[in-house]
C-alpha cells in the first residue's frame, strides 16, 4: 500500500513537471501547429532568469516569487522575437519550422554556454521549500508539491484565459477557423503573436520551476523537449485537457515502470506505450472531430 502510494506521488510529481513543460507547447503546437524545438531553450532562459535574480536578491523566497513572472516575461519576449522574425514566414511549412527552430535552439544553447559557462549553476531553494511534508502515507518534498501547485495554477489560468477573456475567444476563433476569424475582423497576426507569447512564457515558468529540482545548464531544454512533445502528441492537439491527462498519465506510467525496472528502461517502455496508444487513437486522447481528411 505504502509502495503504491509513494509511486502515485512520484508519478504525479513527474507528471506536473511534464505538464509545465508541455503546456506552452499545447498552445503553440496544439493550437497553432508550430513545432517549436526552441521551446526547451525558453525553459532554459527561464531557469537562468531565476539564477540571475537570485544573484541580485539574496532572499531565496522573494527571488523565487519574483522569478516566476519575470521568467514568463523573458520566455515570452524570446518567443515573440522568434515569431516575428522567423515563424511568421513559415506557418504553411510546419515541418520546416521544426528544423529552423532547432537551429535557433542550437544557437541559444551555445549562447548560454558562452554567457554562463558550460558547468551547471545552482539556484538555492527557499527554506520553506527545502523540507519534506508528511501527508500520512509518505513524505513528499515540498518543492515537488510547489511544482504540482504551480502546474495546476498554470492550467487553471490558461483555461480561464481561453474560456472567459476576449483574447481567449479570439485565440479559439483563429484556431478553429482562421479565414472566418479574419472575416469577422479579428487580427489574426496579433492573435498569433499573443498566443505565441503566452506559450513561450509558460516555458519560462517551467524553467523557473525546474531550478527547484536540480541544477541549471545549457542543455536543460534538450532533456525535456522530446518528452514534452510526446505529451502533446499523446494528449491530442487542440485542447488543454488532453495535455493534462497525457502528462499525468505518462508521469504515472514512468513511475510505475521505474518501480519494477530502471529509469532508462522505463523511458523506453513509455515510448512503446505511446506508439501502441497511437495505434488505437492516432490523434491522441482528445481530437476535435472534423470532416477534413487530414
Amino acid at each position: 500500500m505504502q509502495a503504491l502510494f509513494s509511486q502515485l506521488v512520484a508519478g504525479l510529481s513527474l507528471g506536473s513537471v511534464l505538464l509545465l513543460a508541455a503546456l506552452g507547447l499545447a498552445l503553440t503546437f496544439g493550437q497553432m501547429g508550430v513545432i517549436n524545438m526552441a521551446h526547451g531553450e525558453f525553459m532554459m532562459a527561464g531557469a537562468y532568469t531565476a539564477f540571475i535574480i537570485q544573484r541580485g536578491i539574496a532572499d531565496a523566497g522573494t527571488s523565487l516569487l519574483l522569478a516566476i513572472p519575470l521568467g514568463f516575461l523573458v520566455g515570452g519576449v524570446m518567443g515573440l522575437i522568434l515569431e516575428a522574425t522567423l515563424i511568421r514566414r513559415m506557418y504553411h511549412r510546419p515541418l520546416d519550422t521544426l528544423l529552423v527552430t532547432w537551429g535557433v535552439s542550437l544557437i541559444l544553447q551555445q549562447a548560454a554556454r558562452d554567457i554562463f559557462g558550460a558547468p551547471n549553476v545552482d539556484v538555492r531553494a527557499p527554506g520553506w521549500l527545502s523540507g519534506s511534508i508528511d501527508i500520512g502515507f509518505t513524505q513528499v518534498p515540498a518543492a515537488r508539491l510547489f511544482i504540482l501547485a504551480l502546474a495546476v495554477a498554470a492550467v487553471l489560468g490558461l483555461s480561464l484565459l481561453l474560456k472567459t477573456t476576449p483574447l481567449g475567444r479570439r485565440i479559439r476563433g483563429v484556431v478553429q477557423n482562421r479565414d472566418l476569424a479574419e472575416t469577422v475582423g479579428i487580427s489574426t497576426r496579433s492573435t498569433d503573436r499573443l498566443t505565441f507569447f503566452i506559450g513561450s512564457g509558460l516555458a519560462g515558468i517551467a524553467g523557473v520551476a525546474l531550478t527547484l529540482l536540480g541544477s541549471t545548464g545549457p542543455t536543460l531544454g534538450t532533456s525535456y523537449i522530446v518528452d514534452a512533445f510526446l505529451v502533446v502528441v499523446a494528449g491530442g492537439i487542440g485542447q488543454i485537457k488532453g495535455a493534462v491527462i497525457a502528462a499525468f498519465g505518462l508521469g504515472l506510467l514512468q513511475a510505475t515502470f521505474e518501480y519494477s525496472t530502471t529509469a532508462n528502461i522505463a523511458k523506453v517502455m513509455v515510448f512503446v506505450v505511446v506508439v501502441v496508444f497511437l495505434q488505437i487513437r492516432p490523434q491522441g486522447i482528445f481530437s476535435i472531430r472534423t470532416r477534413s481528411l487530414a
Binding site: W102, G103, I107, T262, V268, F271, Q283
Partner: protein, 390 residues
C-alpha cells in the same frame, strides 16, 4: 528512325547528364581523392562518406517522400552496433569475451551476442535489422495515417529512447562509452594504412552504389508515386494506391542505407557510442541534406559531405563558433532556401540539365502550394473547404 528508338535516344540524352555527374563523382572519389589526400584526410573523408550514405536515404524519405525522419541515428546505430559486436567478438577470439564485459559485467556473453560471431549473419544483420525495425515502425505509423509533425516527433522520440536504452546497458553493450578499440576488420588488421585505404574504397563504392539505386528509383514509376504521395497523399489514395505501402518502402530503404553507413562508420572511425545515435546526431544528419537540396539526387550526399568537412575544419580552430554556424545554417537554409543550394539560380540551370529529368524537375522541389496540408486538425478541420482556401 522509328518512334521507339526516338524515345530511347531522348531518354538517353536526358540521362546523359546524370551519368556524367555520376562518373565524375566516381573518378573524384576513387582516383583523385586517394592520390591527393593524406591517409589521415582520406580516413576523414571515409567518415564523411558514411554521413553521405545516410543522407542519400534521408533524401529519398524526406526530400522525395515528405517523411521528416528525425530518427535516422537509430538505424545508423543498429547497423553500427551489429558491426561493432562482430568486430569485438572477432578480436576476442573463438570462445573469448569482449574486454569491456570482463571489466563491467559478469564476463559471460549474453545470448543475443552469439549470432554475430558469424560474418554472414553480421552482414545480413547490418541490412536486415534496421530494415525490419523501420518496417515495423513504419507499418504501425503510416497505416494509421500518423504523419507530418506527429511522425517527426515519434521518430525523434525513438532516437531518444534508443540512446537512453544504450546508455543504460554498461555490462552488455558498453553503455555511455559504446564499443571501441577494434583491432581487425574481417581478418584485416585495422592499423595497417593499406587496409584503411581499402575501407575508404569500400565506403566510396557503397556510396556510388546507393546513389545508383536511388537514381533508378527516382526514374521509376515508384519514384513518381512517392512524389505524388508527398504532395497530395489523399489524391493518391483516391487513385487506388495505398500511400502507406509507398511510404514504408522509402522509409525502409532509408533505414537500410543508414544501417550500412553505421556498419562502415565503425571500422573507419573505430568507435560507436550513444553519442552517435541520439537526438542531436539524428537531426544533424538533416542539415547537409537540406543544404544540398533535399529532393535532388546528388544534393543530399554532397551537402552532407560538405557540412561534415566544414565542421571538422571550423571546429578544429573555433569550437564554439561551429555551433553558432550550424544553428545559423539550419535557420538560413530552411527558412530562406528550402530547395538547398542546388536551387540557387547560378547552379540551378546546369544542375537541372545534368541531374534530373526535365519532367521530374518541375515537381521536384516541395512547393509551398503543393505541400501537404499541415497536420493540424484543430486548424484545418472545422470547414471542409478550408484546405482550398488556404
Amino acid at each position: 528512325m522509328t518512334a521507339t528508338s526516338a524515345k530511347l535516344t531522348g531518354k538517353l540524352k536526358r540521362n546523359y547528364g546524370t551519368l556524367l555527374v555520376f562518373v565524375l563523382g566516381a573518378v573524384a572519389l576513387l582516383l583523385v581523392a586517394p592520390t591527393v589526400l593524406s591517409d589521415f584526410r582520406l580516413s576523414l573523408l571515409g567518415r564523411f562518406i558514411c554521413y553521405g550514405i545516410v543522407a542519400v536515404g534521408i533524401g529519398l524519405a524526406w526530400g522525395r517522400g515528405g517523411m521528416l525522419t528525425l530518427g535516422q541515428g537509430v538505424f545508423f546505430g543498429l547497423g553500427g552496433y551489429v558491426m561493432a559486436m562482430h568486430l569485438k567478438l572477432a578480436d576476442a577470439g573463438l570462445s573469448g569475451v569482449p574486454d569491456f564485459m570482463r571489466l563491467y559485467g559478469a564476463g559471460r556473453l549474453p545470448f543475443w551476442w552469439e549470432p554475430f560471431r558469424s560474418p554472414v549473419v553480421t552482414l545480413l544483420g547490418v541490412v536486415l535489422i534496421p530494415s525490419l525495425v523501420a518496417f515495423g515502425l513504419g507499418a504501425a505509423i503510416f497505416r494509421r495515417r500518423v504523419r507530418g509533425a506527429y511522425f517527426a516527433i515519434l521518430s525523434q522520440a525513438l532516437a531518444a529512447a534508443f540512446a537512453i536504452l544504450l546508455v543504460g546497458q554498461v555490462d552488455t553493450i558498453g553503455g555511455f562509452n559504446g564499443l571501441n578499440g577494434f583491432r581487425s576488420f574481417f581478418g584485416f588488421y585495422l592499423f595497417d594504412p593499406v587496409n584503411k585505404r581499402m575501407l575508404f574504397y569500400i565506403a566510396a563504392l557503397i556510396l556510388l552504389v546507393m546513389l545508383a539505386i536511388v537514381w533508378q528509383i527516382y526514374r521509376s514509376r515508384y519514384g513518381e508515386l512517392l512524389i505524388a504521395v508527398r504532395d497530395q497523399e489523399e489524391r493518391v489514395r483516391f487513385l487506388g494506391y495505398d500511400p502507406a505501402n509507398i511510404k514504408i518502402v522509402a522509409y525502409v530503404l532509408a533505414a537500410a542505407m543508414a544501417g550500412i553507413a553505421g556498419a562502415l562508420f565503425v571500422p573507419i572511425v573505430g568507435i560507436i557510442s550513444p553519442a552517435n545515435v541520439g537526438v542531436v546526431p539524428s537531426i544533424a544528419f538533416l542539415i547537409g541534406v537540406a543544404i544540398g537540396g533535399r529532393a535532388t539526387l546528388f544534393g543530399p550526399a554532397l551537402g552532407a559531405i560538405a557540412v561534415a568537412w566544414a565542421q571538422t575544419a571550423l571546429s578544429e580552430s573555433f569550437p564554439s563558433f561551429w555551433t553558432y554556424f550550424q544553428g545559423a545554417l539550419f535557420v538560413v537554409v530552411i527558412a530562406f532556401l528550402p530547395g538547398g543550394f542546388s536551387s540557387v539560380n547560378l547552379l540551378q540551370n546546369p544542375l537541372r540539365r545534368l541531374g534530373t529529368r526535365a519532367g521530374v524537375t518541375r515537381s521536384l522541389q516541395p512547393s509551398d502550394a503543393a505541400a501537404p496540408p499541415p497536420p493540424e486538425p484543430g486548424l484545418s478541420g472545422v470547414s471542409a473547404g478550408s484546405e482550398a482556401g488556404r
